[in-house]
Symmetry: none
Subunit: 209 residues, 4 copies
DNA sequence: CATGAATGAGCGTTCATTCAT
DNA sequence: CATGAATGAACGCTCATTCAT
């Protein structure tokens, strides 16, 4: 399926609504209105509401695994450097694509779309496998501790970052960051999250700078 | 509002369905069928589907803050002990009430119920405040590092635990725990999560055992 | 499925509309309006538009085969008398239930409902078998000719009667029966059809009065 | 309106689909796909779906009346011969154009197209009138009985033939003609139908060979 | 002439809720 | 208290048709 600019525009608006109202809560009429297109266009372009969701996942998830694979196989970085890059890139992605990561979170819980479930499963497992390779490389070089649980490691990162993004308004309120504009606040969140997760990873992986 | 046994039974079944299908995905008919009560009873008992959700949140969240307050104010424990208890109790609660924590997660993202939003907000902020008190106490005793970001700390715990619970089937598959029954696997998850979060907290708070 | 008076009322109105506009042409909204019930009642009572049609067929076809079976097995009549009764009863039924016989006719052609198709098939074949028994009895008594093709015989009756009913307005116009009211015209049609088909059957079966 | 080869090709495919799914059940998209033409061409060529149906009726019905008129007025045949030719030609036409005769049957019942209704009415009445002339000629020659009801006569033919064509699969099954290919079975049907209707007509018209 | 894109209207169905009993 | 029946609103989707190119 080749996506035109209009396809992508609809996907973007759908993404925003799915993130705010959930899949069932966002109606096709809502999406069509938000995208400024006719109601029938959604079915015309994507086939159905379900397939729209699938197209969104396909579009957003395509590059994820490839990027990770490239990073893990890259010989120019040490395992520690790779871990840092991994964290930076993940935090950046979540900050930039907050809507999609919110949808992903809910789809992992609710899940009523088999194809989305399949894509999520493949992503999760291939992520664990690839990071597993990285961990083992570090362990062979005696940089990382033995007995690292890859899934605990990854879920600590994804969980922490997602929670911060979900609760960012409370964070803003709690720390009185109300004067910051959205972009600055995101940048602050990005920096802090990156540093925080790196600190945590050092403890888990057992290395010092 | 006084809840009878029947109220609680309906809430339990509603909780299970909301966790699996989401608020919009679980129909009142589904819930009535699952609870073995007449469809009209839901409205009769709770007023509406929305108020049913609110009652569920009220019921499940009532004891949370009180328990934390008691713990923080308890003079029989050191700050480090309190942190350990906090983690243990949180992990236990999430493992035991997986359905409700899944619902909470989605409601934080989706949110279309102002009252639920309000309850979540109050819980989040009072949690941060109470744990803030605990952190400051530890800092005064020079046990914890300066510059602890309470929200980062808490979200690391909640994020990690929730992610592990959400993805527990992948964890089972990845580690070949298929032979374990549900109870044993939950127990294993509980133990591992508790230890893991404690390790991470030490790194963030900056103390050694 | 137990049919109440309201069920039957809806079926009656649906029957009229299906006969005039066809299954696809008659909308659920039309039927609900005609029956004076809420739109959602159709699904509530019958499950779906398709199942409404199936219920109509089940309701109308239930007694057909039983009546024929009773007649064929009845020892009080000669084969010739049975043929006459068969014709009289068929003509009466079609005249009385013109709408349903129109629907039946179209469903035999169009057919997009497997269950209706199945019911029609069973009716057709069991009719052929039962009348086959009657013919053989008459042949053994040397009353009927050898080599009677039961399906040709039956389709001559059903075809002739249905055509006359379908085209009854042209018949009225062609014969200047416009002064007759609907009931009288139906009665005239009934009498003429009965006599006509009996004449034709004599020729096919090869007997004289 | 002048019909090109492409017009005729579309009409042919539309005819097949209308016969199988009915006018409402066959979508313009289906027809366009079946004909291998662009969807918009249907409207472009015929104006609308309704007008496509009208064009189909106009195309198929054009020659019918003319042929009958010629036959009736032909002085080379006796009334009996004319009746036989009439039957043969009608049976042949229905067997050859089964799809169109199925559509005609449904349109007589359902009727939502005034123009089609008008064409059907004219055909019916002019047929009755023309055959009426033939009958009167035979009556004057004392070949046919008095008091022949032309419409009964004609509807016996059309009804019998149409019913046999509609139910031909049951006929095949009932008589175990499954080994016959479609062409052979049609030929068998044609022969039998022709003989059968001639037999019936003799009885109605009251003559012997 | 021919076409891919687009649209308003309307489809069958399901929903949370209400009400008479 | 409890319930089967009933309902208005809205759902996702498909339809015949149109239009810019």
């Amino acid at each position: 399926m080749v996506l035109t600019e209009k396809h992508r525009h609809i996907l973007l608006k759908a993404e925003e609504l799915f993130a705010v109202r959930g899949f069932d809560g966002a109606t096709v009429r809502d999406i069509a209105d938000a995208a400024g297109v006719n109601l029938a266009m959604i079915s015309y372009y994507f086939g159905s509401k379900e397939k729209l969701m699938e197209a969104l996942f396909r579009e957003r998830m395509t590059l994820m695994r490839i990027r990770l694979e490239t990073l893990i196989m890259d010989d120019n970085y040490t395992p520690i450097q790779k871990v840092d890059i991994l964290i930076d890139e993940y935090v950046n992605k979540v900050i930039q694509q907050q809507s999609f990561y919110k949808i992903m979170l809910c789809e992992q819980v609710i899940n009523n779309n088999p194809l989305v479930l399949k894509m999520l499963r493949e992503l999760k497992l291939s992520y664990a496998n690839l990071v597993g390779v990285l961990i083992e490389a570090g362990q062979k070089q005696k940089i990382f501790k033995k007995d690292i649980d890859v899934m605990f490691l990854l879920n600590t990162m994804t969980g922490t970052v997602t929670q911060m993004v979900i609760n960012k308004e409370y964070y803003k309120e709690y720390n009185n960051y109300k004067k910051l504009n959205a972009a600055d606040f995101n940048e602050l969140l990005r920096t802090k999250l990156s540093a925080h997760v790196k600190l945590v990873f050092k403890a888990i992986l057992g290395y010092e700078q």
